[in-house]
């Protein structure tokens, strides 16, 4: 059994806020693939607490394209749904590719993109793609709605900018942040399935007449939070696409990463990966688009 002190199920978004008011110490659970695993491991804050279940809140599910081309992804949309969603496949293939690599099929059917982000694991597979698409998080409380760019939403391992009573409802990606881009995500892990990345890299690039018009690179598991590579991105702007350019972009990435050693990999090994993964990701992104 899970060591929880109660379970309350929300039937609508308004109901989530009511329950949060009645149970201010409760933890929100969506698909359970992180929260229930942490509860099993008796992580502080995940045991001896009530849970509020939101998996039946319809307003927080699904992918919609607004009239101006902005793509809205409900926080409760599962990895499996995102992987197979037409709007995402056509416009944000980097994201569908990234979420297709999460855990195993069972995990992808239950795990949600909002849960993946709010759990704030440094290696979360959906995060680097959302960072490169400049996704904006829509955060609601009973009385307020505010927007926070995902690049500013993370505070540290397991910590995001949510105040008590607030819920991440959806992600918004504007047209100018996905149209005309090509992307690729590399998850570097020991096993192909059911593993956590040693390092992961999402690269998103816009190229016209063989010149880089825009470049965005984000690493997962290279720091406490997913991080973009401003030095490498700035270097790449306006450059011709060539092997030399890509290799130099890879080298620039060392300026912005703070890799660590742990039982999964040494620092030297990770630093090597930091320089080669973006090169590979960019090469594959550009090859895909041809």
């Amino acid at each position: 059994m899970f060591d929880i002190t109660g379970y309350y199920e929300a039937h609508s978004l308004a109901n989530v806020f009511e329950l949060l008011k009645e149970q201010p110490t409760a933890r929100i659970v969506a698909g359970g693939t992180d929260v229930l695993v942490k509860s099993r491991a008796r992580v502080t804050g995940f045991v001896e607490t009530p849970l509020i279940g939101i998996s039946r809140v319809a307003e927080m599910k699904g992918v919609i394209m607004a009239d101006d081309g902005t793509i809205n992804i409900g926080a409760l949309t599962t990895f499996d749904e995102i992987e197979h969603n037409k709007i995402i496949n056509q416009n944000m293939p980097l994201l569908s590719q990234a979420v297709s690599l999460v855990g195993g099929p069972q995990t992808r059917r239950m795990g949600t993109i909002g849960g993946n982000v709010c759990n704030a694991g440094p290696a979360a597979d959906s995060a680097p793609a959302l960072f490169t698409y400049n996704a904006v998080c829509e955060i609601c409380s009973a009385t307020t709605t505010r927007e926070v760019p995902i690049t500013e939403f993370y505070i540290g391992v397991g910590k995001v900018k949510l105040q008590p009573g607030e819920v991440l409802v959806k992600f918004k990606i504007t047209k100018q942040n996905y149209q005309g881009y090509q992307g690729y995500y590399i998850k570097f892990a020991q096993r192909a399935a059911l593993d956590i990345a040693n390092l992961s890299c999402a690269a998103l690039v816009k190229v016209t007449e063989n010149k880089i018009q825009d470049l965005r690179i984000c690493f997962g598991a290279a720091a406490a939070t997913p991080i973009r590579m401003p030095a490498a991105e700035a270097y790449g702007l306006g450059k011709e696409v060539s092997n030399d350019t890509l290799t130099t972009i890879g080298d620039y990435c060392l300026q912005d990463t703070k890799t660590i050693a742990d039982w999964r990999a040494s620092k030297e090994y990770r630093d090597h990966l930091v320089t080669v993964l973006p090169v590979r990701a960019l090469a594959l992104a550009l090859k895909d688009g041809e």
């Binding site: 929880i4 109660g6 379970y7 229930l36 695993v37 279940g53 069972q106 399935a193």
Partner: protein, 155 residues
């Protein structure tokens, strides 16, 4: 804290007053004496506890029992036909020699059943990906993949 739930279990409408702290795995094994699905890791990594919820294979160890309210569950016991004869997926696992200790097999068959239904002509790579959430410590997987191919042929 107890919650009253109603759901369909292997084709039968059932109700249960369940402790909200229980996983679906615990409820099915303890309250319904269905012990075909196994608890391997209890954290969603091995797939031994897989069941179909509304025709989708999920890990029942990290699924709250109360979440099945209003849903339809099929366990390995429900894959076996009501007259006790084996489903062709089960038979294919036997015929292909895909079963060693057997601990992972109920989960493998649950995942395979959904997959075969949705993919009538799968490649070996597609089979591998479909079963990538199920771990086996005995067989080395080759014969399990053979079994799924055989099940596709004998459908």
């Amino acid at each position: 804290m107890i919650q009253e739930i109603e759901f369909t279990l292997n084709g039968e409408a059932v109700t249960c007053a369940v402790d909200v702290r229980k996983s679906l795995l615990e409820m099915l094994r303890e309250d319904f004496s269905l012990i075909g699905m196994k608890e391997g890791c209890s954290v969603g990594e091995c797939g031994a506890c897989s069941v179909l919820i509304d025709e989708q294979a999920v890990d029942s160890c990290i699924y709250l029992a109360v979440w099945v309210d209003g849903k339809s569950i099929t366990t390995i016991e429900g894959i076996t036909h009501t007259d006790g004869s084996l489903d062709n997926v089960q038979q294919a696992f036997i015929d292909a020699g895909a079963v060693q200790c057997g601990f992972c097999i109920p989960g493998m068959i649950i995942s395979s059943s959904q997959f075969i239904k949705e993919n009538p002509q799968p490649s070996r790579d597609e089979i591998r990906r479909a079963l990538s959430g199920n771990m086996c410590r005995c067989t080395g997987y080759q014969k399990i993949i053979d079994a799924v191919e055989l099940a596709v042929e004998t459908k």
